[in-house]
C-alpha cells in the first residue's frame, strides 16, 4: 500500500496546482513527499480576472506545503500552448472551505 501520493509519473513535467486559497500555480514538479509537500521549479502564478486576460507572475523555485494543496493537474503542453490566455476572462477560484 503506497503511503504517499502517486506523483512519480508527473515528476519533471509541467503541472498545474490549485491551492486552498484559490491560486493556480504552474511549474515543473521536481519532488514531493508523503504529505504532498511539493517542489515546483520554473513556477508562475496564473491570475484570472473578469476584467483583463490571465496575468502570469513569475515565482521561480517554490516549495508548496501539502496542507495548502487541492489539485495537482498534469498539464497537456500542446493543449496549454493552444490556449489564448490574454483573451481568457474568469472569476478567480474560490478558496477551499472545510
Amino acid at each position: 500500500m503506497l503511503g504517499g501520493p502517486g506523483l512519480e509519473s508527473v515528476v519533471d513535467q509541467f503541472i498545474s496546482v490549485i491551492t486552498n486559497d484559490g491560486r493556480n500555480i504552474v511549474g515543473v514538479l521536481k519532488g514531493f513527499d508523503q504529505a504532498t509537500n511539493i517542489i515546483l521549479d520554473e513556477s508562475h502564478e496564473r491570475v484570472y480576472s473578469t476584467k483583463e486576460g490571465v496575468q502570469q507572475l513569475v515565482l521561480g523555485l517554490y516549495i508548496i506545503r501539502g496542507d495548502n494543496i487541492g489539485v495537482i493537474g498534469e498539464l497537456d503542453e500542446e493543449l496549454d500552448a493552444s490556449l489564448n490566455l490574454s483573451e481568457l476572462r474568469a472569476h478567480p477560484l474560490k478558496p477551499v472551505i472545510h
Binding site: P5, G66, G70, V71, G73, D76, D80, L83, A90, H91
Partner: protein, 93 residues
C-alpha cells in the same frame, strides 16, 4: 478502510468529484489511496465556462482533504453490500 476498499472497486468508472471550492471535475477513476486522495484520468471540468482554470489538464491528482462529494454512477452502488460492510465496521472493524 471501508471507503478505501469501496473506491478501489470503483477504479475504471466515471465519477464526478466536487471540491470544497465548488469546482467539479469529471473523469475516470484511476486510483485512490489510504487518505482517499483521488487520481482521475481523462478529466473535464463540469462548468468549463465558469472554471477555465484547468482547460489544459487531462489527468489530475485530487487531495482527499478538499473533496466535498464524489458523485458515482447509480449502477456502481450496491446498497446492500455497503450496508453490510458498514454494519461490520461499526461492530468490530
Amino acid at each position: 478502510m471501508l471507503f478505501f476498499s469501496y473506491f478501489k472497486d470503483l477504479v475504471g468508472r466515471e465519477v464526478t468529484v466536487e471540491l470544497k471550492n465548488d469546482l467539479a471535475i469529471r473523469g475516470t477513476l484511476h486510483s485512490v489511496d489510504q487518505y482517499l486522495n483521488i487520481k482521475l484520468e481523462n478529466t473535464r471540468v463540469v462548468d468549463q465556462d465558469k472554471f477555465p482554470h484547468m482547460l489544459s489538464v487531462r489527468n489530475c491528482f485530487i487531495r482527499g482533504s478538499v473533496v466535498r462529494y464524489v458523485q458515482l454512477p447509480p449502477d456502481g452502488v450496491d446498497i446492500e453490500l455497503l450496508h453490510d460492510a458498514t454494519r461490520r465496521e461499526a461492530r468490530g472493524g
